[in-house]
Amino acid sequence: MRGLVYVAIALGLTIVFGMLRLVNFAHGAFYAIGAYVGLVVAGRFGLVAALIAAPVAVAAFAVVFDRVLLRRFYDKEPTSQILVTFGVAIVVEETLRLIFGSSTLPFPIPDAISGSFNLGFASYPAYRLLFAAGIILVVVAVWYFIEGTDYGLIVRAGVRDRTMVQLLGGNVQLASTIIFALGAGIAGLVGVAASPIYSVDPNTGFSFLVPSFVVVVIGGLGSFWGAVLGGLIVGELGSLTTLLFPAASDVVIYVAMAVVLLVRPQGLLGESEVIKG
């Protein structure tokens, strides 16, 4: 189940990296904003409203962030881009902490979907099944957007050669903003959807962010299917070790990362040009 959360978060990281060549340390903050907005909206208008409001709010926040701050750093070296996203991540996390407090907040599952499904061989909480189906739907939708639409064509071409796409009349600037908002929106959506399973606290975004970095490193930074594959691997490795050797369950993914780096530094499905810049 965690694996699916990693897939969704890593997906946002990886498409943003592909398009903007930006590693976004604030991506976990997007997840956290989504979770808290979801918590507030769900309390008043229900979970469905929260699932719509949170991604929209987070995407809007991302666009403002991009226009006001990030834009100044487009032509600077990558390290200063990381620094500014890191700074914003702190500001967001601490703002959430001031508003909602440091304690872990529960996110109740609506009664209608709080039961279990009988799958024949085992019963499984209904919400988790819906969650899994939802993530798969998101992955397919994003894949279709990038691979199947004209807009996705501009995005993919922009990754290859920004200047050329601009000369041909494609609006790379706008495409970048859209991709950034899309990645953020996914993080916000997952922030809501995963919260009934993992509850909400101000650190929650960051605690998902670091494993998601591991996911994109294993899968290959910038690779769409790499994020999916990496997320599933990391999720499974975590679950298996929890069964066999619980103390090491948090360490095993980093060991996997180190092994991948030794054998295939660009990641399982990554392109080698990425790691050299």
């Binding site: 990381i82 700074g87 601490e94 970095f213 490193v217 930074l221 103390a247 980093y254 780096l261 050299k276």
Partner: protein, 356 residues
Amino acid sequence: MKDLRFYALTALGLVLFPFAIHPIGGYGGLATQILIVGIASIGFNLLLGYAGLLSYGQAMFYGLGAYVALLTVSRFFPQHPNFWLAIALAVTFVSLVAVAVGMLVVRLYGIYFALLTLAFAQMSYFLVFKVFDNLTQGDDGLQGIASPPLALGPWSIDLTAPLPALALGPFGDLSDIHYWYVFVAIVTFGVIAFSRTLTRSQFGEVLGAIRENEERSRFVGFDIARYKLAAFVIAGALTGLSGALRGLYETSAAPDILTVDTSGNFVIYTVVGGVQTLFGPLLGTGLVMYLQNVISAKTDAWRLIEGVIFVLVIVFLPGGVLGTLEKRRAGRRNIVTNALRTTPAEALPAAGEATR
């Protein structure tokens, strides 16, 4: 002659520092803490400022340094606790870890480097916290491990002892300062001298060349990965030294010193003070830690304020406090030498400012 003046002024600054912060709400212990952390920031600056490598994993070296130093005293050699041995083992162990991690990460592009150092630090956090919890006491951490006295030839100095009482008016009392400060100030002096020598050496020049243009440096014939690895290990060793001092000074270490927040702090201190400047990291460490001390006594929002300061510095003072000041001064002094000193892209705006 110039060297002599530099070192004399540095020494004078370190002597006056704990008294200077007294009237504005600082105290001797804070001065000691600032210098200890400052050593790690100086190391981090060698990495980020001179080699251009942004590490989000310095907490790994800092935390491991603290743990190894304390374990040396309490577990490895409890019969003969020795201050120097604790420091030496900590720095050696951390340097070896830095070599191992460095070999995996320095060949990779800058963005990857930040991700991977962060991930490895997180790994060391879980290793200390969960896997080796027999040794490290897990969540509780190591507590109440008194630092052995500092053996110096025939003498044995208790670092926690205060200096003789002597009232100094608004600058406090000489006895506010413990021997810890004296020791740490001497170490800091050494680290500053080391950093200055290193950045002015051929090694420092090559690192700068790699930072500015990696490809060209490679074609000129430098073994880039080896230079980067050397910078990574030197920074790691200094951070390990800083962590060892911190562990012995605080007499404790808990897993939270290995978290991302700690790594992030070195980034914040160094960037706020000024990367690529000799005293920037120390200044930033002092400035931020001092503000934290003053502000967090009054409000819970300290970390938010810290984040805002950090973002403002990145946006409006890209060279950090000291970097911006130095650039201003250089700009006024002479446009030509300024242009020669910096890369063309940097020199242009500075020159424009000066003529205005």
